[in-house]
């Protein structure tokens, strides 16, 4: 509606409590985060609560990063012949304790992108929830999807919003990947973005990893990655990398055959983003483990 209409609803007398609040009727952008900031700031993640509240209740947070909240660990992504594959281990740690053995750190963000998280698990999951809604909201309001770069930039600004908490040791560092539908060759359409806690956005080539085990995972990928891998070969490569990370990093969980807990795998191509079933991942994970039975170093 026109601005005039918005003004006329700005301070209505007798406005029913169940009616749409005036702020919802004012023109704005297609960004859900921007809208929340303007209309419902109390709902924003980390809106003074995560930082001020926690720090106030526990001043030691300022001194040393607390170790008493769960951390997510290793996520890797690599490009394939027709897009990208992202894989994340399932462990969350809290100090020396395994906080959760089947946490999920890789999420389908929208139809053609995927996001993985490492760092403070609570904040990170909330960030992903917000990010997915941001993409969906934009699409519903505007009628078209954001470009892949547009999505990556939105994620960067949302991480920047968490900077205060990051400085207190509650950093959230995601990895974002997707298919750029404007690129005609499938082999070049997959793109990977990494971030730092200040919201810096960096495009990575071929492969990347985040989290505590990423040093080892990236070393494994450096040796195993080949351009133009078929999706299932890429999944195998990713699981090998996570295995190597779990081999050397206590915070990363390897495939758990006893409980049937396997890495979360999402592959993205021009058709869409697909989460692999546990059965499919389990088969490949068993092949990886069978290989390590003969050669523990891979």
């Amino acid at each position: 509606m026109t601005a005039g209409m918005a003004d006329s609803t700005a301070a209505p007398r007798n406005w029913p409590t169940q009616a749409i609040p005036a702020a919802y009727l004012t023109p704005g952008t297609g960004s859900f985060a921007d809208f929340l900031r303007r209309a419902e700031p109390q709902l924003l993640p980390g809106n003074g609560v995560a930082v001020g509240h926690l720090a106030g209740a526990n001043p030691s947070l300022h001194a040393a990063p607390a170790v008493d909240f769960p951390h997510g660990t290793t996520v890797v992504a690599l490009t394939t012949a027709d897009g990208v594959v992202m894989a994340g281990d399932r462990r969350a740690t809290q100090g020396n304790v395994i906080a959760q053995r089947d946490i999920e750190k890789v999420f389908v963000a929208d139809s053609h992108s995927v996001v993985g998280i490492a760092g403070a698990a609570g904040l990170a999951v909330e960030l992903v929830r917000m990010f997915r809604l941001e993409l969906e909201h934009y699409e519903k309001i505007e009628g078209v999807r954001l470009s892949l770069d547009g999505k990556a930039n939105r994620l960067a600004s949302m991480i920047r919003g968490n900077l205060g908490a990051a400085l207190q040791g509650m950093a959230v560092v995601p990895i974002f990947a997707g298919v750029d539908l404007n690129v005609p060759e499938p082999a070049k359409s997959g793109r990977i973005y990494s971030y730092d806690v200040t919201g810096g956005r960096y495009e990575e080539h071929d492969y990347y990893g985040i989290g505590s085990g990423s040093i080892f995972a990236k070393s494994a990928l450096k040796k195993r990655f080949r351009p133009g891998l078929a999706p299932d070969e890429a999944v195998r490569t990713a699981i090998e990398a996570l295995y190597d990370a779990a081999d050397d990093d206590t915070a990363t969980g390897g495939p758990d055959l006893t409980r049937k807990i396997f890495p979360v795998i999402v592959s993205v191509n021009a058709v869409g983003a697909t989460r692999w079933s546990d059965d499919a991942v389990g088969q490949i994970a068993e092949q990886v483990i069978a290989g390590r039975m003969e050669n523990p170093g891979g």
């Binding site: 509606m1 007798n14 749409i20 519903k140 078209v144 299932d232 592959s267 058709v271 499919a280």
Partner: protein, 311 residues
């Protein structure tokens, strides 16, 4: 000091109603109905980009007629309301009844408090969960008028333009649990029963117009569905190529249920794996992939593939 001209309250409200009603009658007609697979929206709309039908939330769709700028703002507000509620509670807590009530309160308040009533008529449709009854008993159609009055329609809602011939045509053709091609053809035929242009602003010409029957082509209607059988986001636009096929003859009638060939962008929540659809894939034996739907472990559960880009 001059006194304002006296108008009785009855006259005052009647004038406002007439004003809004005339504005709505100048619009083009929208039909919302329930079919075997969910909820079907059919709008006479020659523009491929200025939509009269839109997605609000996972299982909620929106159709409107009247002034574009006014209902577009209400549509945006509805999406914001739904997304905020889903964000602060859970996606399941966003219901059509609640949203229709918010719209009704808003329209009613503007009608009685503001100098100009909104010249819009809305329909909020909510589709039932997968597995619910195909006769539409689990689906809801709320029709909301310019004055905030709200009606819960059991079978179909007709809004905007000259509605009488459209309602008469649908009354004659509606059957419980009709399939998509049947329902779609009946709705398009019913829209064609309305006089073209709808410019008169009165129902005066409708009696004769009912017999004329215009033929509406695939590029003159905007069609979308809420697909009852998917989890997550259910709203799909049916774009012109698929629409032409659905409206076409019965010889090669498309399947009754909406399948991937009938919709522009196949949702990832469909059961078939979609990673192997490229012909040049090496295609090892069936990679058992599931859809991304995984509500149990996923706090946001945006597990549907968004619908096709709308232009």
């Amino acid at each position: 000091m001059t006194l304002p001209i006296y108008a009785s309250p009855e006259q005052f409200m009647r004038d406002r109603s007439d004003y809004a009603r005339k504005g709505i009658a100048r619009g083009r007609t929208v039909v919302v109905t329930i079919y075997a697979g969910g909820v079907l929206f059919v709008a006479e709309n020659p523009s491929p980009t200025l939509h009269k039908v839109s997605e609000i939330y996972d299982r909620i769709g929106f159709a409107a007629t009247g002034r574009y700028n006014e209902y577009e703002n209400l549509r945006t507000a509805g999406i914001r309301l739904a997304d905020v509620r889903g964000f602060s509670y859970d996606r399941r807590d966003v219901t059509g009844r609640w949203l229709a009530n918010a719209y009704a309160q808003t329209l009613g308040s503007i009608f009685s408090e503001h100098s100009k009533p909104l010249e819009v008529e809305l329909c909020v449709a909510e589709v039932g969960w997968p597995g619910s009854a195909a006769d539409g008993s689990a689906d809801q159609l709320y029709r909301i008028s310019y004055d905030g009055s709200i009606a819960d329609e059991p079978h179909f809602a007709v809004m905007g333009g000259v509605t009488e011939p459209v309602v008469a045509a649908l009354d004659a053709s509606y059957t419980d649990g009709w399939d998509l091609p049947t329902a779609l053809r009946a709705c398009v035929a019913a829209l064609g029963a309305a006089p073209s242009g709808n410019g008169s602003g009165t129902a005066g010409g409708s009696g004769t117009a009912a017999g004329q029957g215009r033929e509406l082509g695939a590029n003159q209607v905007e069609v979308a569905v809420l697909d009852r059988n998917v989890m997550g986001r259910t709203f799909r636009r049916i774009e012109t190529p698929q629409l032409t096929a659905l409206l076409g003859g019965t010889a090669d009638a498309p399947p009754a249920t909406l399948d991937d060939t009938a919709v522009e962008s196949a949702p990832e929540t469909r059961r078939e794996p979609n990673v192997r659809q490229r012909d040049d894939d090496p295609a090892p034996e069936g990679p058992p992939v599931t859809g991304t739907a995984d509500r149990a472990n996923d706090s946001t559960a945006t597990d549907g593939d968004p619908p096709a880009p709308t232009s």
